[in-house]
């Protein structure tokens, strides 16, 4: 936890921040064999966990179907191997949650910005699962489906695709704009409560502005909570 990177959030992805910090904190053991870092994506069903991960792994958005149990992925990230658990949000699989979280170095709590309940669920249902995670586990709070609320996404879209990969979905097909149900402030407040729950020192932890995001896995865009600045979804190359 000592090592702190001051990475410009605007230039790179917040996920990158998480991982870099985490991977430094971990011993660098053998490649591929033993993952250096365990990362878990939690959140209510249908908030877009699998889509986020899919965007990250394959830079694509595609229709997914409800995840069963949990899906495990290994991702080479620079010199590090990270393992990622994409969990099912359904209550049916709740019992496995603590197993997925055991020893996790980072947890991404995901909610749907158009669905207030999905934010509430994070605290009610998912936070306690992280008891088995590491004590210094890093939390990020991600509000997905921002494209459903903010028409700006569509304008920003064209100029930013660094990968040359056209967005899968074209603007006209974007669903009708829904009223945003979750304000950033609520997510930031939740972040504070999480730190207190985990008994982490708020001053030495990453500030909420850096760890709360609104994203759209569909249009590959992301905002941090501190600015209205729109970010490209630029993940480390695979």
């Amino acid at each position: 936890m000592k090592v702190k990177y001051n990475i410009d959030i605007v230039a790179s992805s917040p996920l990158r921040v998480i991982k870099r910090r985490v991977s430094r904190a971990m011993p660098d053991s053998g490649k591929m064999k033993k993952p250096d870092v365990k990362l878990v994506i939690l959140g209510d069903m249908n908030v877009g966990k699998t889509s986020l991960l899919h965007r990250y792994m394959e830079r694509k958005f595609k229709e997914t179907i409800s995840t069963i149990g949990g899906a495990f992925f290994l991702k080479q990230w620079g010199p590090y191997t990270i393992s990622i658990w994409d969990t099912a949000g359904r209550e049916q699989f709740h019992g496995l949650g603590s197993m997925y979280c055991r020893g996790a170095s980072a947890v991404i709590l995901t909610y749907d910005v158009t669905n207030w309940q999905s934010l509430a669920e994070l605290e009610e249902r998912f936070l306690s699962l992280t008891d088995t995670a590491k004590d210094d586990c890093i939390f990020a709070i991600v509000g997905n489906k921002a494209d459903l609320t903010d028409p700006k996404v569509l304008e920003v879209e064209p100029e930013e695709e660094g990968t040359g990969q056209p967005p899968v979905c074209s603007p006209p097909t974007v669903s009708p704009i829904v009223r945003k149900q979750v304000q950033r402030e609520e997510a930031i407040a939740l972040y504070g409560r999480i730190l207190r729950y985990k008994l982490q020192d708020e001053r030495s932890s990453l500030p909420a502005e850096r760890m709360c995001f609104e994203t759209s896995a569909k249009t590959a865009t992301m905002w941090t909570c501190c600015s209205r600045h729109c970010l490209t979804w630029s993940f480390p190359p695979s």
Binding site: A71, F72, E91, F93
Partner: protein
């Protein structure tokens, strides 16, 4: 509630056709009986099993159902098939007697078979009276006094709907095709919704909707309420409703089958003309798939605590799995035969695959299964566990369906609790699912462990298996493996067959398997495939009729001739070109059996290998059923939700 209902609807009963009820000991029979009724509204009387009182209620409820729900709407699919009508004629002569030739045949109730009704066609009519009287004669015993079948002719409601019967060709075949993505959003008041070939509903005892194959359950809550009213009304008389037959003969026939499983009620509303027995077994698959996700113990417990619990809360997201199951049930004969379809593979290759699996083990690993193209490549089982209980084909079907429905993201390794309802309905296994050949994702590895925490150990097994496959270049060999064509048998008139042996060595612990060639022309289109499967289903229902089982049927249909034959050693369904003669068909079957004998090492898994992952023998004694610990069911967090 039911009473009120009854009162309200009573007049309608009168108006609408003669309700009839039968105590029929046997599902299939009742089907025939029903059809008979439909045919000529009087015949049912001769069945005279005597439960005449309940029908009114049932009938009015039926009316209700039909009006909201459309079971009695004009027959979607027989209509488009023009061929059935002429059918009876050609068949009569052809089918007069059963095959005289080989051993078993003589006994087969002779005249019985000629009539050939295809499941989908008005042709059934001709066949029916005869059946009905047949069955009536054998029927008199009430097997289960607590169960009866209500047969009803709901012509009234049919008229209410005023629907032109014709032109549903596409509708009829559509269920077999890939489902439209929007089933959930379907307008349940639309005519197209009513016309689906087979509806399946799941509800709780409190009448809460849990699942509907088409349309949103929420929108169907009143319909489901009526279904529940039916069930509980009959229950209040210490009886169990089993089925309702409705529809005017030849234009609209629906079979409504009810099945209660613990706190769940499953209802199938079908115009597929399958036997009640078959529909019932399909409902059982649906129930078992739900159990596979939640376990029977937790379902029961949940409803014990809270009668009106909304199970969708736990099943949300699983609809696709159930949808997928129902599509498979409609299109894959494995479900009909309750047997597993193996991919033909040189036995040396299959053995080496098995060895690779045998070497990659870890404690508490129970089953290692390799699957390609939705067919079994090989399966290795834990010794002590299968001594306690065997892996049933039905459980394997549920697993295969789960794999098919979970392939959203194929690069990953999935770890999920899964219950195998026939193995042990109250416990979870933990399934590891991963594809060995990304990105193609055709060869799937499935490892089942009893240890919830074993993911990493099991994932290590997969790495070993990966390595073993690579060194032996097995993936390429598997890619070359494919199903075979009926022409390879070398019998000119043979178009297709399904062969299910009973005489596999060590049968007791063996998976029931069957083999079948690709469906080729003329069965290459979806419609034709469905038609052939319907024919097979019809043959199957005749062979397995409870009251009048047959050993051999020679059935001359309009576009093909079928022969089904069951002996103590095998069950065989064959499809020939229509011009085949009885003698040549028998000849062909002899050749076919010889060919299968010659190829059986390739077609079947002869000796499923075993391994031992429980070094500590005491482990094998856990629970009568062998597998997973009971605790896990409570562990899954359902109860905390209540």
């Amino acid at each position: 509630m039911e009473e009120e209902h009854q009162d309200r609807e009573q007049p309608e009963i009168v108006r609408c056709s003669e309700p009839q009820s039968h105590c029929s000991p046997d599902d299939t029979d009742s089907l025939k009986a029903a059809a008979t009724i439909t045919l000529d509204n009087t015949s049912p009387a001769e069945q005279g099993c005597g439960t005449e009182d309940p029908p009114p209620c049932k009938l009015d409820a039926l009316q209700e159902i039909s009006s909201t729900n459309g079971p009695s709407e004009p027959e979607p699919e027989p209509e488009p098939e023009p061929e059935p009508q002429p059918q009876p004629q050609p068949q009569g002569p052809g089918g007069e007697g059963p095959l005289e030739a080989s051993s078993d045949q003589g006994k087969v109730g002779a005249g019985e078979e000629n009539g050939p009704s295809e499941p989908e066609g008005p042709a059934v009519e001709d066949d029916q009276p005869e059946n009905a009287s047949d069955s009536a004669s054998t029927d008199n015993t009430l097997e289960d006094s607590s169960e009866f079948v209500v047969t009803v002719l709901a012509r009234g409601s049919l008229e209410d709907q005023g629907e032109g019967p014709s032109s549903e060709l596409s509708e009829a075949s559509s269920p077999a095709q890939a489902p439209a993505p929007s089933h959930r959003d379907e307008d349940v008041t639309a005519e197209s919704w009513r016309r689906h070939r087979k509806h399946v509903f799941v509800l709780s005892e409190a009448g809460k909707p849990i699942y509907s194959r088409y349309g949103n359950e929420e929108a169907l809550s009143s319909t489901m309420g009526v279904m529940m009213a039916l069930v509980s009304f009959v229950q209040s008389g210490d009886n169990t409703i089993r089925s309702i037959y409705s529809g005017e003969h030849g234009t609209d026939e629906h079979t409504v089958v009810f099945m209660q499983q613990g706190p769940l009620v499953l209802v199938s509303v079908s115009c597929s003309r399958q036997s009640e027995q078959q529909l019932r077994s399909e409902l059982l698959y649906v129930y078992n798939q739900i159990v596979s996700m939640l376990t029977q113990a937790s379902i029961n417990r949940i409803f014990e605590r809270k009668k009106n619990y909304d199970l969708r809360r736990l099943l949300a997201g699983s609809e696709k799995i159930l949808d997928g199951l129902l599509n498979l049930v409609d299109s894959d004969p494995s479900f009909l035969l309750s047997a597993v379809h193996c991919l033909p593979l040189a036995s040396s290759l299959r053995d080496s695959l098995s060895q690779i699996l045998q070497k990659a083990i870890t404690p508490n690993l129970v089953f290692s299964i390799l699957i390609a193209k939705n067919q079994l490549l090989t399966i290795v089982q834990e010794k002590t566990v299968i001594e306690d209980a065997r892996l049933e084909p039905a459980d394997l079907h549920l697993l295969l369906n789960l794999i098919g429905a979970s392939s959203a993201f194929q690069a990953g390794e999935i770890w999920t609790p899964i219950c195998l309802p026939l193995f042990n309905p109250d416990c979870y296994f933990y399934a590891y699912i991963s594809y060995l050949d990304p990105p193609d994702c055709t060869v799937c590895l499935l490892l089942l462990s009893t240890d919830k925490e074993a993911f990493y150990a099991v994932a290590d097994c997969k790495r070993k298996i990966d390595e073993g496959m690579r060194t032996q270049n097995a993936l390429r060999a598997i890619a070359k493996a494919q199903s075979y064509s009926a022409s390879q048998v070398g019998v000119s008139d043979l178009r297709h067959f399904m062969y299910k042996p009973f005489d596999v060595p060590d049968n007791h612990r063996q998976l029931t398997q069957f083999t079948s060639p690709e469906m080729e022309a003329p069965y290459s289109s979806e419609e034709e495939r469905t038609r052939l499967l319907d024919l097979y289903r019809y043959m199957h229902s005749r062979i397995h009729s409870n009251s009048r089982p047959l050993k051999l049927i020679y059935h001359v249909a309009e576009r093909e001739t079928l022969l089904a034959w069951v002996t103590s050693k095998f069950e065989l369904y064959t499809c020939f070109s229509p011009l085949v003669t009885k003698a040549s068909a028998i000849n062909a079957i002899t050749k076919l059996l010889r060919w299968i004998k010659k190829e059986e090492d390739r077609l079947f898994i002869r000796n499923p290998p075993k391994y031992s992952t429980t070094p500590n023998p005491s482990k094998s004694s856990r629970g009568g059923k062998g597998g997973p610990d009971r605790q896990d069911t409570t562990d899954n967090g359902f109860l905390s939700l209540l």
